[in-house]
């Protein structure tokens, strides 16, 4: 059997040594095939192949080194008859290839935290590593968004502010209703020293009127002879592009995760064989790490066997037992819904109370943080209670994990949504009397500059999330480890060291990122604050992982869960997008601060500046928006979608066909071997008779 490299690309095995085609196999099989034909693949001496392909093939051959070196020598001796130009080209391509190889090695150094991530993967498995990879993705995403915002909004604002002499035209508000335009963020009178600390945590005081929040930006519009820059338009379009950029990054990452999921056949088949043959990490060093890994593999196998037993038992229940079980589950689900509904109501009350409270001392700090405290408390308590309830539901372990995840996601995202809904209904006077919204279109008594207040709320949420992570690490995880290590009573040993629970941690990250997305329009520096926050969280989580945690007994299936995490992130993105659209298109911007002072909605700046474009650009943009363009575009994308879907189904079918063919080949082999044995025994008997 020749190993033909070109056939490698065609066969489903990626195969090498590859299969001969079905027509050839019957012809070629003249002797039993359990002889080691497959272990001696041969080299394809085809001289038409390009030189680098042959070099690549040589590296990938499973031959001993001595054989490879002799093949290499023979290759070197074969001097192809080429012209001078071709030999120069070959030499240059060889040096280019060597250069690319060495630079590829150098570039790998630049990848952020590569070694740390590999070490984590080796010690704690792919599941924990996927959390840290997700965190790294979010850090890079936030940093790139900050660069986007800084270059289009922040830097021009700073430049134009510093050049605030006479030659720029600040469009001032014309219809100035006195009550709507008063806004005084600077504190009056003597301030205590601790208010600076409070201001840092809540974004009020000296931090309120700064580049951090929406209220500081002006609606400057610089129009000189050869350069014009419209800050309000830039602000709005940058926010829009920021969202689109994040969406593109998430979708690209989801695409690669989906590709892996499709390649592995979608479901997690082959759990046992995958664990046995690919579960051992050859890079592990150190006696303790090896022992822990062996324990984890053993535990995983035992848990999988246990799950099989539970499934068998569940399949053998009587009808009465099934009915009882399902009614119990329905009742418990009602309790879970009641718990979640109760926490939503609590968030609603807390937000209303906190928005109406005025004060400057320490109690007011607690009251300002009340919505964040209630959200975080609900997100700790309710999943914990749900876990206890889930023990009664008696699902299989994997279903329990998925259910717990879904409930936690639902709780987190909707609690944030409830907070936002409460805020917005207060701003647009849905809960207060009609009168307060009449003069300005928004609640100007409570919120002279409502965008800054929303930005402050998001800033407080992000800060509190960060403080919670650090506080839990210092006050819960380190003491727990010290107690477990030094105390030897039964209860403590039973509870044991902390386990790094991947899903809850990932949900925390998604929550933090959603808060940033919601707040980015009102607090433009929030992405950079979030970058710093995530970087600190990376290092803190790494420290706590190595010092306080033991490797999870139940290794999290990282391949399918990557896709799930990105899906949840996308859901958070959609929530933030909804908020953005509502704020931009519906609510009246504050008349006392910010770049959109003089407009009825933020969106109006786009049509207003549209008419200042040149004629041809206007015509072109109108054409793109009209039916003559969008209907054919829609039809074309439907055709492309149908084509891609058909292609995907054809590939899926061919994979299953090839898999069935493999099984048939095996039976083929056994049949032929039996026939050959029979024939040889018949001929032997005939020879004996003669």
């Amino acid at each position: 059997m020749d190993w033909n490299g070109s056939q490698r690309h065609g066969s489903a095995m990626g195969g090498y040594p590859s299969y001969p085609s079905p027509q050839e196999s019957l012809r070629l099989r003249r002797r039993p095939t359990n002889v080691a034909d497959q272990s001696s693949p041969q080299f394809n001496w085809n001289p038409d192949r390009k030189e680098d392909e042959r070099r690549q093939d040589l590296k990938e051959l499973p031959l001993p080194m001595a054989l490879k070196k002799s093949i290499w020598q023979v290759q070197q001796m074969k001097i192809p008859a080429v012209s001078r130009w071709q030999s120069w080209k070959m030499q240059k391509s060889k040096t280019l290839k060597r250069f690319r190889e060495s630079s590829g090695g150098a570039l790998a150094y630049v990848a952020l935290w590569r070694r740390v991530l590999q070490k984590i993967g080796g010690h704690f498995g792919g599941g924990v590593q996927s959390y840290f990879l997700f965190l790294r993705f979010l850090v890079v995403l936030n940093f790139l968004s900050f660069l986007l915002i800084a270059s289009f909004v922040l830097v021009p604002s700073i430049v134009f502010q510093s050049h605030n002499s006479g030659n720029n035209n600040t469009v001032n508000i014309s219809a100035g209703k006195e009550e709507c335009t008063t806004y005084d963020p600077n504190p009056q009178g003597l301030v205590h020293f601790y208010t600076y600390f409070i201001d840092l945590l809540t974004g009020t005081g000296f931090m309120e009127y700064s580049y951090l929040f929406y209220g500081y930006y002006n609606n400057t519009e610089v129009i000189t002879n050869d350069f014009s820059y419209n800050i309000p338009l830039a602000y709005l379009l940058t926010a829009g592009f920021y969202f689109i950029f994040c969406l593109i990054c998430i979708v690209i990452r989801m695409g690669s995760a989906v590709r892996i999921a499709v390649k592995t056949g979608g479901k997690a088949v082959g759990g046992y064989s995958t664990l046995v043959f690919t579960g051992w990490d050859y890079g592990l060093q150190g006696d303790r790490a090896v022992r822990l890994k062996q324990n984890s593999i053993r535990y995983q196998l035992q848990v999988d066997l246990e799950e099989e037993r539970i499934k068998l038992k569940a399949a053998s229940l009587t009808l009465a037992q099934i009915v009882g079980l399902y009614s119990l589950r329905a009742f418990l689900n009602l309790i879970v819904l009641a718990l979640i509904g109760g926490s939503f109501y609590g968030i609603f009350l807390a937000t209303e109370f906190s928005q109406g409270y005025q004060g400057t001392d320490f109690v007011s700090l607690v009251v300002e943080y009340l919505p964040s405290i209630v959200i975080t408390a609900a997100n700790f308590l309710v999943p914990f209670l749900c876990d206890q309830i889930a023990l009664l539901e008696r699902h299989s372990p994997s279903t329990t994990v998925i259910l717990a995840l879904l409930r936690a996601v639902f709780l987190r995202m909707i609690s944030l949504g409830v907070l936002l809904f409460t805020l917005w209904s207060q701003i647009t006077c849905r809960t207060a009397e009609r009168g307060t919204c009449q003069p300005c279109g928004y609640n100007h008594t409570l919120y002279p500059c409502w965008e800054t207040r929303v930005g402050q709320e998001m800033y407080k949420l992000a800060m509190f999330d960060f403080i919670t992570v650090i506080a839990v690490m210092i006050l819960v995880e380190f003491p727990r480890r010290m107690v477990v290590d030094h105390c030897s009573c039964k209860l403590v040993k039973f509870v044991g060291r902390q386990e790094f629970v991947v899903p809850q941690n990932v949900l925390g990250l998604v929550y933090g990122q959603t808060v940033v997305w919601v707040g980015a329009l009102f607090c433009p520096l929030l992405p950079v604050i979030n970058t710093v926050k995530f970087v600190i969280i990376f290092y803190c989580k790494r420290i706590t992982l190595f010092y306080n945690c033991r490797p999870a007994d139940r290794t999290f299936r990282s391949t399918s869960s990557n896709f799930f995490f990105l899906l949840v992130l996308l859901f958070g993105w959609m929530l933030a997008c909804l908020t953005l659209i509502y704020s931009v298109a519906v609510i009246h911007p504050s008349m006392s601060c910010g770049p959109f002072l003089s407009l009825t909605t933020m969106w109006r700046v786009v049509p207003n500046s549209f008419y200042s474009l040149s004629d041809t650009t206007r015509e072109f943009l109108l054409f793109i928006g009209s039916q003559a363009f969008s209907v054919p575009l829609f039809m074309l994308s439907c055709v492309v979608l149908a084509y891609v879907a058909a292609l995907a189904s054809v590939y899926g079918q061919s994979v299953s066909l090839l898999r069935a063919q493999l099984k048939l080949e095996g039976r083929d082999k056994k049949f032929l071997v039996k026939q050959i044995e029979e024939l040889s025994s018949v001929t032997k008997r005939r020879e004996q008779n003669f």
Binding site: P62, K69, Q118, V276, W280, Y282, G283, G286, K663, K670
Partner: protein
Amino acid sequence: MGNKQTIFTAQQLDAYQDCTFFTRKEIIRLFHRYRDLAPQLIPLDYTNKPDVKVPYELIGSMPELKENPFRQRIAEVFSEDGEGNMTLDDFLDMFSVLSEMAPRDLKAYYAFKIYDFNNDDYICKSDLEKTLNKLTRNELSEDESRLVCEKVIDEADLDNDGRLSLEDFQHMIVRAPDFLSTFHIRI
């Protein structure tokens, strides 16, 4: 980079570079790691291709392999004499296959050989049991071990002969995306 080293001829280095996934610097560095295992045995001058082998006990005491339960099988598979005593060629070959640039099929081929304890080109039940024992340090009970072996053969054996051939193994590896990162030793 300049040809300042005197361990190999230029042609030998070129051959190593084309036959393994290492660059020149890495090959020299690996040679020094190899030599550090037995400095009195290995000469500093390989230009006349000396025929020296490092015995298995020294190979198995390398920090990268010391605690690996499969170290003996790894050394046996990659050594010329099948006993674990490795020449420099075997040493380079072994770490080249275990490096991160080796493709999946090459790694799968050698992983199959490592797990095939009786060297009959099939992973049968006894091979599987030995693999399981090494993976779990003999802490699984008889019943559990037997059940797991049955399940593995059920899942991966496609041609239904009760044992895993190389094709079955490779087909299973295709569906395990973690394989490339776990079958990897960094040196």
